[in-house]
């Protein structure tokens, strides 16, 4: 297990970025500390830096929040979507900041077991993806080495066993452009009906 003790970003309140809920002249920690349920809710509401409509609670990467009321400390366990996901460190920092805003000291632990799959996405999470015109993941393929349909032709590395629905026009007449898209968790598709390219959240 990797322990990440992230510290709040310096100058977050005075920097260029406007915080979601500005906290003017903060009273002492103990007085301002919110309830354990509240800090848990705030941690779950932290959003994915690359998919701003999606909270980490709905993404399904929060594996546990343990609050110690007497110490004002909260231990948050999260799991990566992909091993190399570069957003994990930002997410860990945002959790620490969100907890600090509620008067708590957070420690973020990154755990690997059980591994995250797209089954952990909530219905609300899938809706949040669709809102950004990202096709939500389809059913996962669990076969170890099942056949992969291949077209030898203009775009033969196009592979699709399940039709991906265009998030803009709803057509199933879509094709895969690239298996690796704008982030590790997405693939790039194109809709033949409306002509738009779009991201798909890959099913893993």
């Amino acid at each position: 297990m990797v322990m990440t003790r992230a510290t709040p970003r310096d100058g977050r309140l005075s920097g260029g970025k406007t915080p979601a809920s500005p906290t003017p002249a903060r009273p002492s920690r103990e007085e301002s500390r919110s309830s354990a349920a509240e800090v848990e809710q705030r941690v779950g509401a932290v959003t994915d830096p690359e998919i701003p409509t999606l909270s980490i609670g709905d993404l399904g990467i929060v594996r546990g929040v343990e609050a110690d009321e007497s110490a004002g400390a909260v231990r948050v366990r999260i799991t990566p979507t992909y091993s190399g996901c570069p957003a994990m460190e930002v997410i860990a920092r945002d959790i620490v900041d969100a907890a600090a805003d509620a008067g708590w000291d957070a420690t973020v632990e990154i755990v690997h077991s059980p591994p995250w799959t797209t089954d952990w996405l909530t219905e609300r999470g899938r809706a949040a993806l669709a809102e950004l015109d990202i096709a939500p993941p389809g059913p996962r393929s669990t076969g170890a080495s099942g056949p992969v349909p291949v077209t030898i032709g203009r775009a033969p590395h196009t592979e699709s066993s399940v039709a991906v629905v265009c998030p803009r026009c709803g057509s199933t007449d879509t094709e895969l452009i690239a298996r690796f898209g704008t982030t590790a968790c997405k693939a790039l598709h194109r809709c033949r009906a409306c002509g738009d390219p779009f991201d798909e959240f890959k099913a893993v």
Binding site: V2, G84, H112, P114, H157, E159, A178, F180, G181
Partner: protein
């Protein structure tokens, strides 16, 4: 105190880190921009895997070291990766053949390690299996396209297979590293993975109208003992020089 399978975790981490470094070199050099992204993303998955494994290693080997200590502050003889992953980047055909081999091996070995008695290692392994399966599919699709493509792409794949041939036996060698871990009930012997890995690879090659991996008059050995080829030193120099020139630098 060092656990019996610490050297295995080091070997897995080094295989992933060094191959990630090679794959990263393709960004801006691949035949199309989607492939810059693809090979870069595969490298990123491997780098993430290496980081998780180094995180475990610091407590397993009893030194308490962190990921940067392992990546930047060890010298060549302390790295435990196989020779295949350190070989210099050549053409795209060679990279696809190398990826097909490495990803096929990773699918099998991490599937076995997913039930390791070390639950932390098992957790990293079960994540690695799904990712490596995706990498392997990517290599498979390109192998079919290039092998069964033009005469030029076919010839390049044939010469790529000749180039990787000497490095294949080392992937399946049961060295002291794997034997110690297997004896402790936390590892898997590479020799037991060979038939499944090579069956997959040979099936893909046959479908791509390519003969299998040819036999070679010589073979690499010694990666797991820290004995490397000339290419390793240059790779490490590039990877480590910034950290060593500015110790403790952060951004």
């Amino acid at each position: 105190m060092s656990e019996a399978h610490a050297p295995l975790v080091a070997a897995l981490a080094d295989d992933a880190l060094i191959y990630a470094q090679r794959l990263g070199e393709w960004i801006s050099r691949a035949p199309q921009i989607e492939e810059d992204m693809a090979l870069g993303n595969i490298g990123l998955d491997l780098l993430g895997r290496a980081r998780s494994l180094y995180g475990l290693l610091g407590s397993l080997d009893g030194t308490g070291r962190g990921e940067d200590d392992y990546a930047y502050w060890r010298d060549e003889r302390e790295f435990r990766h196989v020779h295949l992953v350190e070989q210099p980047r050549h053409d795209f055909g060679l990279e696809i053949v190398r990826l097909l081999l490495v990803a096929s091996l990773d699918v099998e070995r991490y599937a076995a390690l997913a039930s390791s008695a070390d639950v932390e290692l098992a957790g990293v392994a079960s994540k690695a299996v799904t990712e490596s399966r995706y990498h392997r599919d990517h290599a498979r699709l390109w192998t079919l396209r290039l092998g069964d493509g033009t005469s030029e792409s076919h010839d390049r794949m044939v010469s790529a297979l000749e180039r990787v041939a000497p490095y294949v036996d080392e992937l399946f060698e049961d060295t002291a590293v794997e034997v110690a871990a297997a004896d402790a009930g936390v590892g898997v012997l590479p020799s037991t993975l060979k038939s499944a890995v090579m069956r997959f690879v040979e099936d893909v090659l046959a479908e791509a109208t390519l003969d299998g991996v040819p036999s070679s008059r010589w073979r690499s050995r010694g990666g797991r003992e820290g004995l490397h080829s000339e290419a390793c030193g240059y790779l490490l120099a590039e990877m480590q020089h910034l950290a060593r020139s500015h110790p403790g630098a952060t951004w």
